[in-house]
Amino acid sequence: MTTATAAGAATAARPATLAQALTRALRDAMAADPAVHVLGEDVGALGGVFRVTDGLAAEFGEDRCTDTPLAEAGILGTAVGMAMYGLRPVVEMQFDAFAYPAFEQLVSHVARMRNRTRGAMPLPLTIRIPYGGGIGGVEHHSDSSEAYYMATPGLHVVTPATVADAYGLLRAAIASDDPVVFLEPKRLYWSKDAWDPEEPTPVEPVGRAVVRRPGRSATLVTYGPSLPVCLEAAEAARAEGWDLEVVDLRSLVPFDDETVCASVRRTGRAVVVHESGSFGGPGGEIAARVTERCFHHLEAPVLRVAGLDIPYPPPMLERHHLPGVDRVLDAVGRLQWEAES
């Protein structure tokens, strides 16, 4: 994709990683608003284990980018108090499965405080969580925990899949007056796109999906780490004569029924693809919503391609768990094409 910049003569776009775009978003948000504070484990001198907070402590001081004790409930709980006092904390949870100690704070306080106080005490909080597998991580480093957060009213849940979205969505999350669980696909941290850090993406409000690849045969509905898989599958599907449309949700809550359903009404077929398990996972909700709204446009049941419903496997076996191109194409093949003729 980096060669695409050749066309735009004036642009300073060059290959940037998703992690770099996140860092830039944090830096710009901190520069724009002194109320923005970053806190978490190893976010200071080290710059975070994925280096997303690189340089922030040096630039803004340790009071703005703070290494905390190693205690996730304490990190999120103190961030709640900071938000109560008018700050705009951005919390880093080091890994998906290490965010679970903060679950009670998230569910019992973060998600409810606005509602509990009839709007008097909103909590403008961003909770950054690296999630998903595919990086060879050992146990507890690869969970797809989005279904827990989606099932909690009061939270927004967003996840970027591109470098530009990493910047735009994180700025939007920090600007939001509601708590946002910001899920960072860790296997895409080092993925590159042409991106101009001096003219970053415009910041859109959270909640809109986007069609990443137009197509006519069927819709792949996906997000985060599965987007590249779906785009690759769509390319491979051309050989089978299928022209697949790929929708990147970007936001799981709010859910963009409009964009998803418009696509499915055009194509008549849909497959939801995610790493999270299928049983009780996001795909079930998405399939139900699509079916409820687009039943008469559907040529086949909505299918799900998901991680297996097992505890996350050890790294040497994770390729069997993660939805890959073949599993996506198999599902597309099962969309009752023969019934068409």
Partner: protein, 390 residues
């Protein structure tokens, strides 16, 4: 040179120097709970403070009795009484300046109203017409927290934020003996000490976590001793001695405000009533124990002192009684009125803007309410005698 020849020349490096990071001695609580009433120190207590504490304690006792009665009448869904703990409740609110913050747990509505919150608004959670009935920013009182100890990190974060902003604000966070077993208690105290946040943690050790006595909760010498492990001072006080609690908490607030960091105060008290109206305390404790504590009642202790000092004449007694009864009468009158509920409020504050799927559900409920209203109107029309005129 052979390996054998090297033998004897090897000198291990000395271990890195070690010394305790803090001297634990000044952090240790006293061996006995600190007391003022009934000791020589009582003579030094300020008459004005004694009168204020007395008025608030007597009114607080009446408030507890009235709220409990309203629960029996079905006007509150549940009421966790602080009868017997009024000294802690009142002192916690009185030691704070206006700009300070109070972080109560669910049993602390008396502290909340002593801080100035309207009693009916303070009881909203327990009445059940909403969760928090007051604007936390009006009197700087956080919402009553039902999940145990989870409000403590909030107090730390708020106090830390205030300090970062250069504001002279102290947070006082209340928790019970059972709450000290929760992970959030540990994390909050640790964060507060590391960040030197101006927080006062008040543990009301009332003897029981619902039915479980303290001995099954901790093996620590006292709950105040837990402070030492975090590097903050622990203070042990007789929680039924209003003057002592007021003094210890005032000192702790002063210490925190001056930049000395957090303080943990354990106030030893007793829950004279059951956990809530739904609890049966006879299943886990004997009358004799309760009677012993009734002999150490916070209101009586204070009255004895005022009487001894000649600070409580009949006029003063009458004034306090009238104030208490006025509060109780106001509570009865306002809580006997049915609250006005709007079911559409259920969607109003989940997010700043409702999500599309919440908007759909809001319309569903609106349609259900309209159908319900129509059915009620039809039923009324049918119930009315045909041709009846008015």
């Amino acid at each position: 040179m052979t390996v054998l020849e090297q033998r004897g020349t090897y000198r291990p490096a000395p271990p890195p120097a070690w010394q305790p990071r803090t001297d634990p001695a000044p952090l240790l609580p006293d061996a006995e709970p600190y007391r003022v009433l009934g000791t020589g120190a009582a003579d030094r207590a300020d008459p004005g403070l004694l009168r204020t504490l007395h008025a608030r304690l007597v009114t607080g006792r009446r408030y507890n009795a009235q709220a409990t009665a309203l629960t029996r009448q079905g006007r509150l869904a549940v009421y966790p009484s602080s009868t017997g703990q009024e000294a802690c409740e009142v002192a916690a609110a009185l030691v704070l300046a206006d700009r300070d913050w109070l972080f109560p747990s669910y049993r602390d509505t008396l502290a909340v109203i002593t801080r100035g919150v309207d009693p009916v608004q303070a009881l909203t959670l327990l009445r059940g017409d909403w969760h928090t009935g007051y604007d936390p920013y009006e009197h700087r009182v956080a919402p009553l927290s039902t999940p145990l100890a989870t409000q403590l990190p909030h107090a730390v974060g708020l106090a830390h934020a205030a300090r970062l902003r250069g504001d002279d604000v102290v947070a006082l966070a209340m928790v019970g003996d059972g709450g000290t077993s929760e992970g959030d208690f540990h994390e909050a105290l640790n964060f507060a000490a590391v960040q030197r946040a101006p927080v006062v943690f008040l543990v009301q050790n009332n003897g029981f976590a619902i039915s479980v006595p303290l001995a099954k909760q901790t093996a620590a010498p006292s709950l105040a001793h837990k402070a030492v492990g975090y590097g903050m001072p622990g203070r042990l006080v007789d929680g039924n001695d209003a003057v002592a609690v007021h003094e210890v908490l005032s000192d702790a607030v002063r210490h925190a405000r001056a930049g000395g960091g957090p303080v943990l105060v354990e106030a030893v008290t007793y829950r004279l009533e059951a956990h809530t109206n739904a609890d049966d305390a006879t299943r886990y404790r004997g009358d004799a124990e309760v009677e012993t504590w009734r002999g150490h009642d916070p209101v009586d202790l204070l009255e004895r002192e005022l009487t001894r000092r000649g600070l409580l004449d009949e006029d003063a007694r009458r004034a306090v009684r009238e104030e208490s009864e006025a509060l109780a009468a106001d509570l009865r009158a306002r809580l006997h009125e049915d609250p006005v509920l709007d079911p559409m409020d259920l969607f109003a504050h989940v997010y700043a803007e409702p999500t599309p799927h919440l908007r759909e559900q809001r319309e569903l409920l609106r349609a259900e309410l309209a159908a319900e209203a129509e059915a009620n109107a039809d039923a009324e029309a049918q119930a009315a005698p045909e041709g009846a005129t008015r």
